[in-house]
C-alpha cells in the first residue's frame, strides 16, 4: 500500500500520511462493507482515492525526491532482465507528468502488477478504459524518452 501511495504522490512522507488516512477511512467504512467487490479491491479503491485527495490538497514539491533514496527502490527479482538505471530514474520523473488516470493505471499495472480487471474494479472504470489509459501512459513515456535520447544523440 505504501508503494502505491508513494508512486502516486511522489513523496514517501505523503505516502505514509495517505496510508494512515486510508486506514481511518477503512475503519469508518468497514462495518458497511457489503462484499459487493473483493476486499482488496475495496481497500485499494479507498487508498487510491485518498492519494488523489491528498495530491490535490498538497502542491508542494518533495524536498528530497523519493527515488534519490537508495533504500526506497526494490531490489530486482532474481532472473529479472537488467534495467538501465537511467531509464528507471527517467521513468520516475516522467510518470508524475502524466495525467491522473494514465498515471494511476500505469502505477497499478506496470509497477504493482495488478490486472486490468482488478484496476477496473479499483478505479470504477471499464476494463477497456484501463487498457487505453495504460497505452496513453506508455505512449507518452515512450515519446518523451525517445525525444530525450534523440536529443542526446544529436547534441
Amino acid at each position: 500500500m505504501k508503494s502505491v501511495a508513494a508512486n502516486l504522490l511522489n513523496d514517501t512522507s505523503d505516502a505514509e500520511d495517505a496510508v494512515q488516512e486510508a486506514f481511518l477511512k477503512i475503519y469508518r467504512a468497514l462495518p458497511g462493507f457489503k462484499g459487493e467487490s473483493l476486499l482488496s479491491t475495496w481497500l485499494y479503491r479507498i487508498l487510491v482515492n485518498t492519494c488523489h485527495d491528498l495530491g490535490r490538497r498538497r502542491t508542494r514539491s518533495p524536498e528530497v525526491p523519493a527515488a534519490d533514496r537508495p533504500e526506497d527502490v526494490r531490489e530486482p527479482e532474481p532472473g529479472a532482465p537488467p534495467v538501465d538505471p537511467a531509464l528507471r530514474l527517467t521513468l520516475e520523473r516522467l510518470i508524475h507528468r502524466l495525467p491522473p488516470l494514465p498515471r494511476t493505471v500505469f502505477v497499478l499495472f506496470e509497477v504493482e502488477g495488478f490486472k486490468h480487471r482488478e484496476i477496473a474494479g479499483i478505479l470504477g472504470i471499464p476494463e477497456v478504459t484501463s487498457r487505453y489509459a495504460l497505452f496513453e501512459a506508455k505512449k507518452a513515456l515512450q515519446t518523451q524518452i525517445l525525444a530525450s535520447r534523440r536529443g542526446r544523440t544529436d547534441a
Partner: protein, 215 residues
C-alpha cells in the same frame, strides 16, 4: 492482412496476442518499429523497479493511535456495533480493520497464490506470518464474541429467515473448520488464508443480519 507501421499503435493499445506477434515479425525488418517495440518492452521491464519499500517503524503505532482516537471521538456508531459492549465494539472494529489490511499484505498483486514457501519467502516471512496470525486470532475472537451475542437468537430461530441464517452459519462453520485444518498443514498458503478471510467475512455479515432482525 499485412502489418504496417501504422498498425503499431492500435496493436499496442489492444494487446491482442496475434496482432502483437505480427508486429514483432514486422519489426524484424523495420528499424523504426523495432525501436518503438524495444522501448515499449524496456518501459515494462523497468517499471517494477519503481516499486518502493522503505522502513516505517512509526507508521503502525501512528495508525493505531489514530484509530484509537477516532474510536474515542466517534459518534453514531453503526447499529451492529452499538449492540456490542463499548470496549468490545472498538476492539471488534479495530481488529477488523487491522486484520483486513494485514491479510491484504499477503495478497501482493501479481504474486503466485500457491503454497510454495520458498517462492514466497521474500514476502511471507515468518515474522509477517506471525503478525497475520495474531491479527487473525483477534479478528476471529471478535467474531466469536459477536456469535455469542447472536447465539440465543440463532438457537431460537423463531422465523423461517432466522432458520435459514442458522443453517448458513452451520455450513460456514463447517467450511471454516475444513479450511483451518488445511491451513494447519500449510501455514504459508496465502490463497487458503484469503479463502478463510472471505468465509469469516461472510459469517460476520450473517451474524450482523441476525442481530438486525427484530425480536
Amino acid at each position: 492482412m499485412t502489418f504496417t507501421c501504422r498498425d503499431l499503435d492500435d496493436t499496442l493499445r489492444e494487446q491482442e496476442p496475434s496482432a502483437l506477434e505480427a508486429a514483432r515479425a514486422h519489426a524484424v525488418a523495420c528499424p523504426s518499429c523495432r525501436e518503438m517495440l524495444a522501448l515499449w518492452d524496456e518501459i515494462a521491464a523497468a517499471a517494477p523497479r519503481l516499486r518502493k519499500e522503505w522502513p516505517s517503524p512509526d507508521l503502525w503505532p501512528r495508525i493505531r493511535r489514530a484509530l484509537a482516537q477516532e474510536a474515542r471521538h466517534r459518534e453514531g456508531r453503526p447499529a451492529w456495533l452499538t449492540r456490542l459492549p463499548g470496549r468490545l465494539s472498538l476492539a471488534a472494529a479495530a481488529a477488523l480493520a487491522l486484520a483486513a489490511v494485514a491479510w491484504l499484505g499477503l495478497r501482493g498483486p501479481g504474486r503466485p497464490a500457491g503454497g510454495d514457501p520458498t517462492a514466497e519467502g521474500r514476502f511471507l516471512t515468518e515474522q509477517a506470518l506471525r503478525d497475520v496470525e495474531r491479527s487473525e486470532e483477534e479478528y476471529v475472537a471478535s467474531i466469536d464474541r459477536l456469535a455469542a451475542l447472536a447465539e440465543p437468537r440463532v438457537q431460537r430461530a423463531d422465523s423461517p429467515l432466522l432458520a435459514r441464517y442458522r443453517e448458513k452459519l452451520r455450513l460456514l462453520d463447517a467450511a471454516i473448520a475444513t479450511c483451518r485444518a488445511e491451513l494447519d498443514r500449510n501455514r504459508f498458503n496465502a490463497h487458503l488464508r484469503r479463502e478463510l478471510l472471505a468465509m469469516y467475512q461472510e459469517k460476520q455479515r450473517t451474524l450482523q443480519q441476525v442481530m438486525e432482525q427484530e425480536t
